[in-house]
């Protein structure tokens, strides 16, 4: 029933239309990727240890603060223009399997000693995670992110890039894609006139 399902996917996709989730996730990924990249270059030095702690703090901070910050910015900039909605978090079985597969790929990449398995694991992680987002809201750009980051990760692995660099480079490039898309969407939403109240 593709036509009757359309409003369902539009309602789900609306969460991403103001660009705020992508902008914040993009910034976080770029910071994590850059810090991780620098840390993996300076492993074993005092600066490297400091960067490792900073990386963990940024990760923890993003887990704790990203959601409240996203809601705050949406309330301030977005909901008066696009209308207010809260997404439902129910996932179907294929999406749950994709997320579990993504987690399994990371574990495979971390545990394996073979560079090609490591880079394939990283690529699979990104592809499955983005694929589950695509399944949820049918947003084609998430497939684009999956192809971009997955290809990059595989190419990096094939050229012999160390897995630690590969992970951080993939994260940073993915973050860059998120940020560009998010900011352009945010500017478009900010041009919409506010309505008095819902």
């Amino acid at each position: 029933m593709p036509r009757t399902e359309q409003p369902l996917y539009e309602a789900r996709a609306a969460w991403w239309e103001d660009g705020i989730p992508e902008t914040l996730s993009g910034l976080t990924l770029i910071i994590l990727g850059s810090l991780g990249w620098a840390w993996s270059h300076m492993e074993g030095t005092p600066t490297g240890s400091l960067l490792k702690i900073l990386w963990a703090l940024v990760l923890l901070g993003s887990i704790l603060l990203l959601k409240p910050l996203m809601f705050h910015l949406k309330a301030r900039w977005s909901w008066d223009r696009t209308g207010y909605s809260l997404p439902r978090r129910e996932l179907d079985l294929p999406s749950v399997l994709m997320i579990l597969g993504a987690m399994g790929s990371v574990i495979l990449a971390v545990l394996s000693l073979h560079p090609l398995v490591q880079s394939t694991g990283i690529a699979l992680f990104v592809v499955l995670l983005m694929g589950s987002l695509y399944r949820y809201a049918r947003l084609v750009r998430f497939l684009g992110y999956a192809v971009l980051a997955g290809t990059l990760s595989l190419v990096a692995g094939l050229t012999g890039m160390p897995p630690a660099w590969n992970v951080h480079l993939t994260l940073a490039i993915l973050g860059g894609g998120f940020l560009l898309s998010g900011v352009s969407r945010l500017f478009r939403v900010l041009k919409i006139r506010e309505h008095p109240h819902g």
């Binding site: 029933m1 009757t4 399902e5 359309q6 409003p7 369902l8 996917y9 539009e10 309602a11 789900r12 609306a14 309330a75 301030r76 909901w79 008066d80 696009t82 209308g83 207010y84 909605s85 809260l86 997404p87 439902r88 309505h195 109240h197 819902g198």
Partner: protein
């Protein structure tokens, strides 16, 4: 036409079997809750039209309408009820069985 198909069609829920109300319920199926402007934008309904259809859905017990605040601003927030969810599931199952002879 096959008699069974006619029976299935007559079993369709008439509250839901109206394009605007079906669209509203499908929007609400995708979210925990949403306000009037959001539903109006996604469905393409005018506010007046939306208001009429939401009242009908509320009478049937398929949606809940609350006046609330998001931040400091007042909002009329709409949610799909459990009864609405069940009715929509039944409706979609009947539709699926009509389009897919293998089901139902």
């Amino acid at each position: 036409m096959d008699e069974r198909i006619i029976q299935k069609i007559t079993r369709l829920d008439r509250v839901i079997h109206e394009p605007a109300r079906l669209a509203i319920l499908m929007v609400l199926l995708g979210v925990k809750e949403a306000d009037f402007p959001f539903i109006a934008r996604i469905t393409g309904l005018t506010r007046g039209n939306l208001s009429v259809h939401l009242s009908r859905l509320e009478q049937a017990g398929y949606v809940e309408i609350h006046k609330t605040f998001v931040g400091k601003k007042p909002r009329t927030v709409v949610r799909l009820t459990d009864a609405g969810q069940r009715a929509l599931d039944r409706y979609r199952a009947v539709l699926r069985s009509l389009t897919d002879p293998g089901e139902g």
